[in-house]
């Protein structure tokens, strides 16, 4: 519909201009407005002029309406001429070319601003055509047609070869097939970049974090004492094992349900070493159900070593560590059974847990056990916090592992992360100060593309 109106108006305007009626620009504006009006009102089934229309027009509704009728009548009655050569729309404004930045080559960006006759300007343009050639004159081939509707346009031509000169020709086009003055720009050469210029901030962050982590690992390996703050849940371990001894009931330890390749499981097994030493000292029975075969062998090794270290190798039995099943709910049901049968006085959950956390912690609570949990699974932490006596939250679990094993890798990492956290706090404090006073450069600097 809109197209048909445009066509009629296009022809009418052309005819009017040809026979020398009025200022061409004025007529074009009227034509465009009419087109808009018609297409909108026709789609709504109305032909009435709206108040909006009245407000926006420089010329009042009556002359415009008159002109419109006149144009239509003339257009229909004369219906002659080849208008496209005459009502050329304005060309694209400020065209420019550049190699697309930060890419692997093979792409050129063509940008331009809307023609004065663009639909958002005041004209009749409804598309732009992009042509490409390797020579300044001739050999241009159409590579794209872009619809209007913006103030600025960007077209990426990603079918070019690197290190070759290209010229581009831009043309604005009306719905009736009239073209603007072509604009030829160039030459431009596409190339690949060796560094992504928007990513300096990431490189800097990466270097700082890596350097501090590696520095502290190196220091820890050299035997430097690195301080780690005491962690509440860990301090409770001795007390909890003591309680089990007093009550003459076993200690149950669950190192999560993930495999040995998860850091949480590693930390869980490290803490198991500490708990096993205590149970060995007090000669309290220990039970460790696991859901992965690799975890089983690792846990067996750890417990065995603890019992040897304390000088009670006879008290160690490999059956202390039991493999139940890989299946999540199957494992939960199995542990539930163990809890109800053996009624442990103390239960540890240290490692990665999923939905089964809830079931396990509930049963543990119902048998009146003291429960100490630790996990980095944020979705499970709420259940542990409310159902257990102590909970190691997220990174505390890793810190506990590092603290207990004295492993320089873990200690160093933790220290390095602390440096990064310190820097983050500093950045936030400074940044908020700057933002409050209207300086945005730090925020801009942190933006990664």
């Amino acid at each position: 519909m809109a197209f048909a109106v445009n066509l009629i108006i296009g022809h009418s305007v052309a005819v009017l201009t040809e026979i020398g009626v009025g200022d061409i620009r004025e007529v074009r504006i009227i034509g465009w407005r009419l087109e808009k009006l018609f297409s909108r009102k026709m789609s709504e089934g109305k032909y009435l002029l709206t108040p909006k229309w009245r407000r926006s027009g420089r010329s009042g509704p009556v002359p415009v309406l008159f002109l419109a009728v006149a144009i239509l009548v003339m257009g229909a009655s004369l219906g002659v001429g080849t208008p496209s050569s005459v009502i050329r729309p304005g060309p694209p404004v400020n065209p420019s070319l550049c190699d697309r930045p930060n890419d692997a080559g093979g792409a050129i960006e063509i940008t331009w601003e809307a023609s004065h006759d663009d639909s958002r300007g005041r004209g009749i343009v409804n598309s732009y055509s992009v042509f490409r050639s390797t020579e300044a004159v001739g050999g241009f081939a159409n590579i794209a047609t872009i619809n209007t509707g913006r103030d600025r346009y960007l077209y990426v031509d990603d079918r070019v070869k690197d290190d070759e000169r290209y010229f581009y020709k831009l043309v604005a086009e009306t719905g009736s097939g009239a073209f603007s003055e072509p604009i030829v720009i160039g030459p431009v050469v596409s190339s690949a970049q060796w560094f992504h210029s928007d990513r300096w901030n990431m490189l800097l962050a990466l270097l700082i974090v890596s350097a501090s982590v590696l520095l502290f690992i190196w220091m820890a390996r050299r035997g430097k004492e690195l301080y780690i703050r005491p962690i509440a849940g860990l301090q409770a371990v001795d007390e909890a094992v003591g309680r089990a001894t007093e009550m003459g009931r076993p200690v149950l330890y669950i190192p999560g349900i993930l495999d040995m390749d998860d850091v949480q499981t590693i930390a869980g097994v490290a803490i198991l070493g500490r708990v096993a030493r205590k149970t060995a000292e007090y000669e309290t029975p220990l039970s460790v159900p696991v859901s992965r075969s690799v975890v089983m062998s690792a846990a067996q090794e750890t417990v065995k070593e603890a019992y040897w270290d304390v000088g009670k190798p006879d008290a160690y039995h490999p059956e202390m560590v039991r493999y139940l099943t890989d299946d999540q709910f199957g494992f939960a049901a199995g542990v539930d059974g163990i809890m109800l049968r053996e009624r442990p006085a103390t239960v540890f959950f240290m490692g990665a847990f999923y939905a089964e956390s809830l079931i396990l912690a509930e049963t543990g609570h119902s048998i009146g056990a003291v429960q100490i949990a630790g996990t980095a699974m944020t979705s499970q932490l709420p259940f542990f916090v409310t159902a257990c006596d102590y909970t190691l939250i997220g990174e505390e679990l890793f810190a506990a592992g590092a603290y207990l094993t004295g492993d320089p890798r873990l200690l160093g990492s933790l220290k390095g992360q602390d440096v990064a956290k310190g820097l983050a706090i500093a950045f936030i404090v400074i940044g908020i100060f700057l933002e409050s006073f209207g300086y945005h450069w730090l925020k801009d600097f942190l933006k990664v593309n």
């Binding site: 990431m202 220290k415 956290k421 936030i428 940044g431 409050s436 942190l446």
Partner: protein
């Protein structure tokens, strides 16, 4: 019997089998549970075949893209675990996965979890240009992020000022866990409603 009806009945019976666990562990539940493990393993196998192996490996090799021989070889190495003698080869495949995964993670997490989050916390505390509650919320946001970070700071004991700030951090963390507690409960119940709706609407047809 039409296929749709058959499907609904199958789904309804399996749903009831699993719900029967709530009464107690029983053969119906065990049946459904084992069937589920089998079906889901089969599902993921086919899914992986058609969406990973076929388009990424097979199609590439067929069209002569020989660089995809590398993942094929590594994939076969992965299967070497089944033969204890050459089992160590699977370590190469695992090393590839762990290595490239670690590389991607460093970049992604540093960007989205670290730099972007610092950037998002840089809010204005200036009362000019925003209402009083805007300033209050921004201040709380600032206090929460910083004190939370202090809580996860392991180089300093939680005593004195540090201890006080860390304490504030715990308050924020607890509210945050409360929120995720709420949403988890909500999601589980939504799923239950979905199942009940299925039983009442699609199967029995009373709703």
């Amino acid at each position: 019997m039409n296929l749709e009806l058959l499907g609904t009945w199958l789904a309804a019976l399996l749903t009831l089998c699993i719900f029967s666990f709530l009464y107690k562990d029983n053969p119906f539940y065990k049946f459904a549970e084992h069937l589920f493990v089998g079906v889901s393993a089969g599902y993921w196998l086919c899914y992986n075949f058609w969406n990973m192996v076929k388009p990424n490996l097979w199609d590439n090799l067929v069209s002569g893209n020989w660089r995809y021989l590398l993942p094929l070889v590594l994939g076969i190495f992965m299967l070497a675990r089944l033969v204890p003698k050459v089992g160590w080869l699977s370590r190469c495949a695992i090393a590839f996965m762990i290595g490239s995964g670690a590389g991607i993670m460093i970049i992604t997490y540093l960007q989205t979890n670290f730099l972007e989050q610092i950037k998002n916390t840089l809010v204005s505390l200036n009362p000019a240009g925003q209402p009083w509650y805007g300033v209050l919320n921004n201040s709380l946001l600032f206090a929460g992020v910083v004190s939370g970070l202090v809580y996860f700071f392991f180089s300093k004991a939680h005593t004195g000022v540090t201890g006080g700030i860390a304490r504030v951090g715990v308050v924020f963390l607890m509210v945050c866990f409360g929120a995720s507690f709420g949403y988890t409960v909500m999601a589980r119940i939504s799923l239950l409603i979905g199942r009940m709706y299925f039983l009442l609407h699609d199967w029995i047809g009373v709703v």
